[in-house]
Symmetry: D2
Subunit: 287 residues, 4 copies
Amino acid sequence: MGLNTSVATLILSCANQKGLVAKISQFIFLRGGDIIDLDEHVDNEEQMFFIRIEWDMKDYPSSSKNFEAEFKILADEIDADWEIKYNHNKSKLAIFVSRYDHCLQEILWRHSNGELNTDIKLILSNHDKLKRLAERYEIPFYHFPVTQENKFEQEKKELELLEQNQIDTIVLARYMQILSPGFVQKYPNGIINIHHSFLPAFIGADPYAQAYQRGVKLIGATSHYVTEQLDEGPIIEQDVIRITHKDSHADLIRKGRDLERLVLARALMLHVNNRVLKYGKKTIIFE
Amino acid sequence: MGLNTSVATLILSCANQKGLVAKISQFIFLRGGDIIDLDEHVDNEEQMFFIRIEWDMKDYPSSSKNFEAEFKILADEIDADWEIKYNHNKSKLAIFVSRYDHCLQEILWRHSNGELNTDIKLILSNHDKLKRLAERYEIPFYHFPVTQENKFEQEKKELELLEQNQIDTIVLARYMQILSPGFVQKYPNGIINIHHSFLPAFIGADPYAQAYQRGVKLIGATSHYVTEQLDEGPIIEQDVIRITHKDSHADLIRKGRDLERLVLARALMLHVNNRVLKYGKKTIIFE
Amino acid sequence: MGLNTSVATLILSCANQKGLVAKISQFIFLRGGDIIDLDEHVDNEEQMFFIRIEWDMKDYPSSSKNFEAEFKILADEIDADWEIKYNHNKSKLAIFVSRYDHCLQEILWRHSNGELNTDIKLILSNHDKLKRLAERYEIPFYHFPVTQENKFEQEKKELELLEQNQIDTIVLARYMQILSPGFVQKYPNGIINIHHSFLPAFIGADPYAQAYQRGVKLIGATSHYVTEQLDEGPIIEQDVIRITHKDSHADLIRKGRDLERLVLARALMLHVNNRVLKYGKKTIIFE
Amino acid sequence: MGLNTSVATLILSCANQKGLVAKISQFIFLRGGDIIDLDEHVDNEEQMFFIRIEWDMKDYPSSSKNFEAEFKILADEIDADWEIKYNHNKSKLAIFVSRYDHCLQEILWRHSNGELNTDIKLILSNHDKLKRLAERYEIPFYHFPVTQENKFEQEKKELELLEQNQIDTIVLARYMQILSPGFVQKYPNGIINIHHSFLPAFIGADPYAQAYQRGVKLIGATSHYVTEQLDEGPIIEQDVIRITHKDSHADLIRKGRDLERLVLARALMLHVNNRVLKYGKKTIIFE
């Protein structure tokens, strides 16, 4: 999965029809694209067609603008939802944090390691505790203290900052604040959260305390897109680890950190590598 | 974990006090017991003491009755909940089934293989579909068709049958019926259920349909003791497996079968090997 | 993954060339095939093209013979290795066993459950211990006692029996005998073995004893195609489970049984659902 | 597992004898110790007794020197190997690294987070690439460039540095150099390595290339004590993750990093929390 900058990726869904793969692959072939990876699936129950195609455009003579304009004609014919992304156009990321460093640390370390094909433009927090970590990795850090009184006002300023930086993806790396519906609506496919439980179990506050009380034998973490309904957005990635009766509430928090950072990092990699297709309240993950 | 018939197991819990391990291990030593395995833990938050001791009684001269009478004196001093079980006294099992064979098949196969130190005395069902499977393994099969009208009456007859067979443990191997509170109260520590979700997610009917709708990335199974609150009893064992968008509802049912039978079998093995201590709404598992 | 009998599956590999997906999908479309699932991948290092396509032929007017004859022309042009299988032509299976019942039990139970789209034509063993299990599932059982002296002779008779039954796939479900090179050569892609270790660790005899001696923290199982080199054929599926110092050699055997039967069953399902492409000493698994 | 500084831990092994638990727990009780956690096991095959006891000494009036002198008398009677460690005496750690940062980063981050009850005294490397990372966490960094010619001389200087810092535990966090037997002998229980395979598979150089060639379906990592035999020391912890045919050699390296750092961190936590007992070529892990 090394990132070749001449690579483009199409993600598309539509009602199932005969000949779709032939049509789309022919379209790419005729424009000089060399298909590297194609994953297609028809959901029999819903009769929906889902496809992800990754191709190399290195011999492609004209601009991607033309390509998309021409593809739009095809897509309109088959009444498809679609998006084409280019490896050379990195997504622009803002990371929202609070006081916990594990998820931020994980993302910054992976990014510095070349694992995340994205531009981390800024880190934003309602506390200033992680400022130093941001500085180590030379990412601008913005401090927006939020209170019940100034929330609306602060969100407005945050949105301005995001717009100035042309942010397309926001990662809530244990942000611990609930964004207002108006904020969420501005980024309908672009806010990724990590919840520290195996959703839909333990929705809401302090899931580790809930898990400890219930006596579950595994704890989980869930990364999902944020929608206006708390903890109910489309799930991108989940995982669990085993716990025992010897684990205190504090142990669950400690063990859970390892899960949270890995699950969030995997979800973010799937998102920036264009491997996630949102479909209703669910996601299709092309792995 | 091979089963030596001269082995006894104590499971005990009480408020934490100094010197408990010394007292109890001394007690066993003085009566000729040779401790094979001891697992003790103090819960710091609750200041509770939990212990499981397994010892070989082969040189122990007198009867287990005496041993228990003497141990009762010690246990009363420290105000403990306790139970001693002997490998030569196998637990007596009844398996309740409906129409699904996977859990029953798994238990009968493991039993025939020598993995389950228990006497399977009978299989009971509201359908007669699994009669032949019971016959293959030469276990008596009882057919109690249950309707809304005759439920109370049938449960009464079932309880009589269980009593005649001195049943101490009931396994609901996908029984698909809700036992009445009166029935459950007769076996406060002795009814083990398998629920086909990662509880507390997807309580109630058709958890695979719920999982499919929610778009989770893992499905789970949970084995727990049955209490009067549906799906809320102390959890013994849980596990999960990964699913993808290619899995239909039918695929979840198929993949889930593998989980259900393994999770139920593991929970049952923990129970019959005296490795489960119920404590409030939770279990301590001594592995 | 329910099996629709009008479905066909192509598995194909060749040197990478531009336009392959377009060519092949167009070919299927023009003959009325409706592509349900397509998974394509180009190995960048080897510059090899691998594809699996599953399509519904329900509206396809002519015989599959014609289809294949026409496809051969295309395949020759691109110099491909390929195979088309049809759900209505079930693979014909022989299961070779010795004295352990767990793998056989698992396969027969899954088959009876409708999970395995295959005809189990016969069970063959050098012992008669599992005859009764074969009879329960009404599968013919053949007893071929093998000694060092009669091995060659017995294998000859076995091959005759396999030929009479048009067997295409042999499953060694803990067969415990090494097949002679001449036998193996008759089924170059058709013998599936289960080895009770995480290969290439613990090749050869009694891998659990080797694992116990080495003090590993996980034990594994590996299902692979049989080649003339012992335990070195292309791997189809592997998995592991955790063990502890409390596990004796006998415990490893017991715990390993659960792994062996699941890993073998998963490998067999991948094989009969045409999801395995052998490529050199490796496999491509289309999941 | 929060670390209470008044806690002591005994790890002991000896030939099995009756009354050992009673004797040892009585000894601790009489000196005012309050047992928090006790895990005992008898290996039936070897007839060996293994125990780990953790107790709170907060009411213990006299010095630990006295305690150990007295315990020595008991231990000599039963001919035991034993060690008592005190949470207030942290182990003193040196981390050896080369050019890869992932394992070092993980250990330093966990340490800064309070998860590792150890003093990281120094980082030592044959390259200077990770100097900046060491500085960020304010740990002294020593650069010892090693060549075939100066290896013996450099190791001598390294040993002097370790002695000056009273190092008891060395972590080879992807050090990429083989220590000479003389060096290893100085730290018979104190050098922890991470090998990037599921040992004993893929011993030696570039295990990911070996795994890629062999076509395994899982890759692993193993943390073990270093002995004079390369990659053959007692295993502390192992784990695996799933890979597919889509993963290139570079992908294995990337995915393997996540395994390596977690497996090494878990092994190190077990070691510094006195949960590892070396026994012959194996370890007993008290979890």
